[in-house]
Amino acid sequence: MKYLQLVLANLGRHKLRSILTILSVALALFLFASLRSVTTTLAATAQLGGARRLVTTNATGIVFVLPLAYGNRIKALPGVTGLSWANWFGGRYGDGKSFFANFAVDPESYLKMYPEFIIPEDQKQAFLRDRTGALIGKRLLRQFGWKVGQNVTLQGTIFPGDWTFTVDAVYTPSDPSLGDDALVFHHEYFDERIGRAGIAGWYIVEIDDPAHAPQIAKAIDDMFRNSSSPTKTGTEKEFQASFATMWGNVSFLMSTIGLAVVFAILLVTANAMMMSARERTGEIAVLKTVGFSDRLLFALTMVEAGVLALTGAAIGLGGAKVLYPAINFNGVGFLPGFKVATSTLIIGTLVAIGLMLASGLVPALRAARMPIVQALRKVE
């Protein structure tokens, strides 16, 4: 510990340089953490989904609907313990610039199916009773300045007209990946206004045992195979994952950029650290003369590099960890539950240790191996 002061004094000699080095490491790792979190958040969203929930959609494609009459036939299958249905609404609010999900659901069965929506009991009852009521995510309250009890009007894009709902209840998702910016309203009201078309966008099927998922999914699809609207049933996880894969190469792109960023800035930083170490040739010779061992000088140089790299890492990674929850970042709705995963912090720290080795090893070895006489003679 007695050498700590020496290390600190060395770092303090070129204060500006040390600060700049730490900051550029911090920026590199902040960016790395941010980019990797996009990938991990997308992956987490793809993992979402209760093990006991299946989703049935139209086999022809996501934009096609199913007859509402399928519900009773699915419910009658052995192993099915619950059923709910929903319909994508695609309404716009205001100028339509801020997108949020909104869909019609069968409220009673839907909320029973999704205990992840945490709603105050009185609000929940109010929503269930109110045929034109809406349940909204808590982010929407802030985003649009809505209040409970207020009427809000959406413009239908798929189902034309002005649709006015009363905000009866606000939910907080127990799992942040679920997103807190959706608006749901009564399917009954929806069906009535579109002229009793009797359609459901998708069914959510609750089953008795996750192990039965493949058989039940097959039973549902077989039942409708030769009807006008064949179905495609899979676990909720598969359903979510299919959305995640729609991003295509985005994850790959993010990781590539992340790597390039880290590599670029670390290169520049390591170079600067090595250059400043080289200036000290004379000093190291003096230290050796007064009795500092080779090993000690090696260690001191490495510690100095380590202090720079790890302080930078702490600021960059810590900053990312704290900043995103603080500004409630969700990637304009595309990245619900955005957070910096622990694995990202660990990898970031390893990168910093790598930087310490890359930038410290050359000067440290040089310091340890340097013959005193030659070093003292060298004029720089």
Binding site: H14, L16, R17, L20, T21, L23, S24, L27, A28, F30, L31, L35, A59, T60, G61, I62, V63, F64, G90, R92, G96, F99, Q155, G156, T157, I158, P160, G161, P230, S242, T245, M246, W247, G248, N249, V250, L253, I257, A260, V261, F263, A264, I265, L267, V268, T269, A270, N271, A272, M273, M274, M275, S276, R278, E279, V332, F334, E380
Partner: protein, 386 residues
């Protein structure tokens, strides 16, 4: 003025440190160009979709073709509208279209699904959209279950080449041709006859109606006439503007990412450059002392070191361009969330973009070199020489 040769030689004297700094700057520039090339390519694909001479009609309030719906009656009324151009054979140049999305598994990984656009067109569509060229095979014959597949799909999805059979909507469809459309989003679509698609998809409803204007300058007038028509409630858009607007959301996200990521990177790189130049200057203090003793003005020392820093950054900028160039033309794909459909587009590295990249590098060099160069210029001769 201190001759520039002095700086070039100094840079060559320290090959490793110069190379590392230039490489760092080069990577920053490469990412910068790469990200912008991506945003560029995406916007270009959608901007090129659609022509200024065409009008696309959607149901009022619909913000994409997917959410729109128009009856046959509307289609026939629009066909007889006086603003619609007429082909040589006397048919109105109008294409009432069915637009749906179907899930298709990708060639390289069949667990990855993409929503591909299937567009049912009229016979006239090939003339209305005059940038469409058939590259292989023959146009689908009316009345048969035949489709024409866009050129961007053939590489990425199985069963999309001429002679193969695609299966969707519970039926088999023979692929009879492939087409290109000047790099536009149409190349990521499957086209077939609208009358064939109607019964298997959503029944007697079109999603959009596209027609060629008789007088290209009369768009505003046509728009007013159609939107005021009491017989139907529609929105009329200029086709080019409509597709450009469909790209706005994702285009904006991509540009934002490009600016944010490279902004942070650039600051980091500038910090690195400052450090490198400070270190370079403090190890060359005696040299600078000699220059000042020889009678060079502090101003020219400042300029000289700025030039040196800019020169290193310039090497970096050129390196960055070299790294980014191979990206040009690489096809990537993502979902355009405005239309919910998969769209393929290529990275577009343009000469202008390369120039911007090089300028960006030089600016980083000048900013990074300024304070160190100032210190060099302010060195006291006696101190420096000691």
């Amino acid at each position: 003025m201190i001759p520039i040769v002095y700086n070039v030689r100094s840079v060559v004297q320290r090959p490793v440190s110069t190379a590392l700094t230039a490489l760092g700057v080069g990577l920053v520039v490469a990412v910068f160009i790469g990200m912008l090339a991506l945003a560029n390519g995406f916007s270009a694909a959608l901007a090129k979709t659609g022509s200024d001479r065409n009008v696309i009609i959607l149901r009022k309030g619909a913000d994409s073709e997917l959410s729109s719906g128009l009856g046959r009656d509307v289609a026939s009324m629009i066909s007889s509208d006086p603003h619609v151009a007429t082909a040589a054979d006397g048919h109105p140049l109008v294409s009432p279209e069915v637009y749906v999305l179907i899930p298709m598994a990708k060639s390289f990984d069949t667990t990855q699904m993409a929503n591909v656009v299937v567009r049912g067109i009229s016979e006239q569509a090939w003339q209305v959209r005059n940038n469409v060229t058939i590259t292989a095979g023959q146009k689908p014959t009316s009345g048969r279950a035949e489709v024409c597949v866009g050129g961007r799909l053939t590489q990425r999805f199985p069963h999309t080449k001429v002679g193969q059979t695609l299966h969707f909507a519970g039926r088999d469809w023979t692929v009879v041709c492939n087409f290109t459309a000047a790099g536009s989003a149409f190349e990521s679509e499957v086209w077939g006859e609208n009358e064939q698609f109607m019964p298997v998809f959503r029944g007697e409803v079109f999603q959009s109606i596209t027609f060629r204007l008789k007088d290209p300058a009369a768009f505003t007038e046509a728009q007013r006439a159609l939107q005021a028509d009491k017989r139907f409630t529609v929105d009329a858009h200029r086709e080019a503007e409509f597709y450009a607007q469909q790209s706005q959301l994702l285009g904006r996200i991509l540009s934002f990412l490009a600016v944010m990521i490279t902004g942070i990177m650039a600051v980091g790189a500038v910090f690195g450059a400052i450090n490198t130049m400070y270190a370079a200057i403090s190890s060359r203090a005696p040299e600078i002392g000699v220059l000042l003793t020889l009678g060079f003005k502090p101003g020219s020392v400042l300029l000289s070191f700025l030039a040196e820093s800019a020169f290193i950054a310039l090497i970096g900028g050129v390196l960055g361009c070299v790294f980014a160039l191979p990206l040009n033309g690489i096809v990537t794909s993502t979902t355009n969330w405005s239309s919910f459909s998969e769209i393929a587009f290529s990275f577009r590295v343009t000469p202008a973009l390369l120039l911007v990249g090089v300028i960006f590098a030089v600016v980083m060099g000048v900013v990074g070199g300024f304070f160190p160069a100032l210190r060099a210029a302010r060195l006291q001769v006696v101190q420096a020489l000691r």
